[in-house]
Subunit: 264 residues, 4 copies
């Protein structure tokens, strides 16, 4: 099974960028499943609304994952319980709307997508390690398993990946909006990448307009952030999983921007 | 001018790994200056002692930068004030032992190396942005300038880099121990990489023994960390700077491990 | 000199509560100066507007101090530079609008009021300890000195108070909205109280409506906070300072609510 | 039922101070149960060892509660599972040694003591609110219930108290080492005090030697902390509970030091 996992899509520019490259990548790589982190897809970079989610599905996305900005748009509560293709962090408190994982049928078999959030320098959610133990008892045994671990620190991300090594097909990180260069397959077969990176403005600061963020650091005053404009970037990772063993066979990072254009 | 910037060297294994690859990289790339982050070079991964610093210089390192673990070894206070080749974060409080930047003579001209620490999720040091403004007034105008920004978040790293765009030759990040894949040259000529990555154990968690770290996440109990053993990795970045303009011309990431061996 | 220091006034109810008790306390205690923390005085509990500041001054307040919510109301920038009776944390970054301390003439002589913010679990401002050293060189030597240290932790508050012992008349804390019972005079004569407490709703959670705050803790979802309604409380401290030595002679805590009514 | 709840006992001086005042308070107030927070009772202020726990029980303590320093002494693991009179935070991860609550027989009936830890600015433990819901289903219905909520912020402490209002006899806070002046009985009968305060050095910073702590704030360097010496303080609260309703009838704060000596 081949999965195209796309990192945090930021703002309208992010959505537009995705719509430009997805067809090309589909042609180039023919993924069986497309998963995208949509926690910043709303126009202001916080959360996701119904129209945007629908647009993503129409572009061919099979599953949308979320993160700390899951509830950035109030309208999300109107559709998250009905939508089988959206997952929010599974370790949100018991009783939280939405689901933490979902099983997607693909032409290469079942794919379970699990969304999880870290706790270091983030909200005090339920333990992501123990939550994974719980979830793995419910996942169909004939399924490939992809974990989107939305977390801040490299140590928590690596720790979870090693904790799950051999028990899931791949663990990929999101949230920092910067792609890491450490793609690998761990000892027992789990594919790993600390962060997939983002999709959206290339010349912002993690996608947001620069001057406001710099002003915040300089003055420590409250500042209104908005999504940056201009040139764009696309970051993703292609994960090949062995159909028999459900282990990762290969990870290929994808980075597209003016400095590293897509050569197709 | 060509600089080889090497990320956080972790423990004895890190030092040994560096001693293995440095000669090969010297032969391959002939850098004019070698800079290495040494904040984790002590045997226990915290700080750096005199013998290790000396060994690094003997391996050909021109400058050692530090970070939040700067004071991990008490003996550092015995030599940091005398040692012109070591810099600790320049935004430590006024009166702190050691220096925040240094000017290194190379065969390609002067190189000023500045060490700086972020504040997001870290100690409340002096403002790194304002400190840079101060330092840049003292730096020789005929000098290339390399900033090692030891920080946790991608937003603070990108913000500082854009703040300094056109005013320094390059800003590279350290501290997360994971190399990022976003090397680029900003609009006004400053080279940038969010994190260089680490040198040392390949199968640890940011270089440390896995079971202790995982136990800590699972139990929230105090746990003794030690540097991991086994296979190793080497991460660095090669920065080419234009001698006339002092702007960056090219950045090349270097990642060496069993999955991505050095082909020389 | 007798100072009445009133803790964080929260919302319209806080202002009304202050207007009820201030005349009574004036009659009872005849303070020479009235200082009040106004960082939560706006209707929504964030910041302070011009009309409210004016109302406070008309009630007899001599000086308004602020804190982390200093910029909660955008209109504050319209008057903070002109208003001699308002101070914002002195360790905000250089260039911040407003002033960090002010000298108030009273019938018992000069009173310098300094506002300062802690950094533990708060924004990375300039060092409050060093900033005090700086300010104390500028304060008139024939002035009593009151420090409002707006900070989260007891350790940082106690540390600053001991650091300033004998150099200022009193250090009182604000920000936690709960009065502490540890009023005392330190070894060299500085009066100290870890927190003055708040003025406003008695049955809220630090002044805010309970259900929203509890929902936030339970669900970790974003929640809109508003100032609570109903019964009210008034917390302050009365500080007597020796005119000659400028040292504290006595601190008397004032707590007024239905459980501990004002007996006049 | 009358409970004497004593705040964080710090170091040997804390233990000695307790041994001085406990007999006097017993004579004065004749409590039915004595509960003490022992998380800092070891000589270095971190954790508690077997000998000290035994000494406390011999002084008449019925129950020892803990907090973030629960595991400060490695030997605690040797006896915590056997000791019915010690409780550690109940919301530590499932599988943690020790117990989160205990039922103590007193001459005035059963008393259940529950220890709980906050999460704001602390470790990401299980949700203390939900954990209380769980525990309250297991507590004997004919029992008075005392909660020691070891937490940093006033908002989390007040929130939990209001969440439990009418369901437990009293919620008292520990951890800040400073007694608050807000004792009260909430609307539905739960007694509440934000923090009980500490027992031990009076002239330290939250019980620790001042110069090291001030040096830490000034230099941001690692510093070795030790328990302060000299004069001492004793802080506690006396809680009267109605035997029939199990609701609080009265809370009386106790503060003893040279400025506020015990008058017996
Ligand atoms: Fe994101
Ligand atoms: Fe995020
Ligand atoms: Fe490091
Ligand atoms: Fe570091
Ligand atoms: Fe406040
Ligand atoms: Fe505040
Ligand atoms: Fe404590
Ligand atoms: Fe504690």
């Amino acid at each position: 099974m081949r999965i195209l996992m796309i990192g945090d899509v930021v703002g309208s520019l992010g959505l537009k960028t995705m719509s430009v490259y997805l067809p090309k990548l589909n042609k180039l790589y023919s993924p069986d499943a497309i998963v995208v982190n949509g926690e910043n897809a709303a126009g202001n970079g916080r959360g996701i609304g119904k129209a945007i989610a629908r647009e993503m599905f129409e572009l061919g996305v099979h599953c949308i994952t979320l993160g700390n900005h899951a509830w950035g748009q109030a309208e999300v509560f109107d559709f998250i319980d009905e939508e089988q293709g959206i997952v929010r962090p599974a370790n949100f408190p018991v009783g939280t709307p939405g689901q933490g994982f979902t099983v997607i049928p693909t032409q290469a078999g079942k794919l379970t997508v699990i969304n999880l959030m870290g706790r270091t320098f983030m909200a005090p959610l339920d333990c992501p390690f123990r939550k994974m133990d719980e979830i793995l008892e419910q996942v169909p045994t004939d399924s490939c398993i992809l974990v989107d671990f939305h977390a801040e620190t490299t140590s928590e991300k690596q720790a979870l990946a090693w904790y799950l090594d051999g028990r899931v097909s791949a663990v990929v990180g999101t949230h920092t909006h910067v792609q890491t260069a450490d793609e690998r397959i761990l000892s027992k077969g789990t594919g790993y990448l600390t962060d997939v990176g983002m999709v959206g403005p290339y010349d912002g600061i993690i996608g947001m307009e620069r001057s406001a963020i710099i002003k915040r650091f300089l003055t420590q005053m409250p500042v209104r952030f908005s999504v940056a404009k201009g040139r764009c970037q696309f970051n993703a990772v292609l994960i090949d999983i062995d159909k028999q063993t459900k282990k990762a066979k290969h990870l290929k990072r994808i980075r597209i921007d003016e400095d590293t254009p897509l050569i197709s």
